[in-house]
Symmetry: C2
Subunit: 244 residues, 2 copies
Amino acid sequence: MDTSSFGLSRAARHVAAMPRDCESCAVAPLCHPLAGAAPQSLPASYGRRRVRRGEAVYRAGDPLSNLYQLRAGSMKIRITNPSGAEQITAFPVAGALLGLDAIETGTHTSDAIALEDSVVCALPYADLMANCNRDASAARLLHQCIAHDINQCQRLLLTLGRMTTDVRVAGFMVDLSEQMAAHGYSPREFVLKMTREDIANHLGMQIETVCRVFSRLQSAALIHVSKRHLKILDVDALRRMRCG
Amino acid sequence: MDTSSFGLSRAARHVAAMPRDCESCAVAPLCHPLAGAAPQSLPASYGRRRVRRGEAVYRAGDPLSNLYQLRAGSMKIRITNPSGAEQITAFPVAGALLGLDAIETGTHTSDAIALEDSVVCALPYADLMANCNRDASAARLLHQCIAHDINQCQRLLLTLGRMTTDVRVAGFMVDLSEQMAAHGYSPREFVLKMTREDIANHLGMQIETVCRVFSRLQSAALIHVSKRHLKILDVDALRRMRCG
DNA sequence: CGGCCAATTGACGGCTCTCAAATTCCGTGG
DNA sequence: CCACGGAATTTGAGAGCCGTCAATTGGCCG
């Protein structure tokens, strides 16, 4: 386990120093007793929590006490079966609501591990449910968040079940690119927060195959990749490969 | 499309002829304004609907008007990407709640197609939401149903991403067996409602590979399969293959 | 009886995995 | 600041599993 003793990244420190401007938060209805209620009335436990690279926000088997909103940084969500086989099901970034899979049984079924120093908001599940009972729009928002995870998971199923490795990687890059764009970063040049091993696991491949696909895509002048630094040279070609 | 003009199967006719004993239904809190309220006060639209083999309960693109509980029979849930690639994400049987993926956007993202003549309960989504607002236990039940779909989807991800074809098929058979047992049928001998093509699609394989795995498992005396009729001879060996 | 579809089996090729080695990066300690 | 060690990444060679193509069988329905 990598538990480096470095401080938080610049992005993480920035957010931790921010005032709690929950007004701009996408899931504010879930945390606030009523839309527009005084923010200072929030329970003290609605707190931010810093997570260092390699640390877990929660692990499979933990009781469901909080859901978490990822405020800054990035994570990997990993499930493990009894024989130890692992599958990374998602790489959430800022804005994502984490821990929804625990709602079925009251126990987390996955690990959420920080890919970099990150910041999460802990949302006590009991408070959140009470809030949904009082506020129909909050309930609807929660429904949508859970359903979103279903759809995302189903799309990944199609990728693993029906696509060649080249197409999987191309689609993964397009997804990352759109994610970066949605957060106001360059969609053409960014840093991969996850290792090749993480990518391979997520896409149902081996590390070496990921490297070889990277090499092929670079030879074809679709991307330029050096370690974690990725430049997308021909996003249209990548989209055509994915075909959807 | 196979739209045979046969009548409903015996199981389907049995349920259709049943009185509306919603008291024994797992999702009754979702349909009833309040637990214990008079059943006769239910809206007329809370109706059963018969679906013939090959027909769709809903299709991708349909607006979300109802969720559906599968009362009798079986379905396949299928997603399609813009280029026409398809992936069967689940084979729900009686008791399952269908259409949850539509909650994110208000539009269905998958097709639900009957594998045999079946019966569903249509649950108007607006009524259901209103009910969740009045009844916290109904809201909780709905949350759990949605979260259940997430967990099921994630487990399938691990299967497609990390398992060999033999292990996928073995795990699929164990799942079917447990499903049959949970419904009071023999877990050792039953009929596959889906085609080899459906199985192959669901498990990310080709038809021919499914046939070959069946042949291998039969040679190893783990199963006996003839067309759609499956006998499980050594469930422990199948479980050991799956390893979880 | 004939046609169509599901299912099965064989041959072959290729994509991906496995094994191995070299290189670079990064953090740690001297 | 430099040296060292481990981890991450890359590339090659070879094998094997699985997909592709093809042919056959058997059952169902018109």
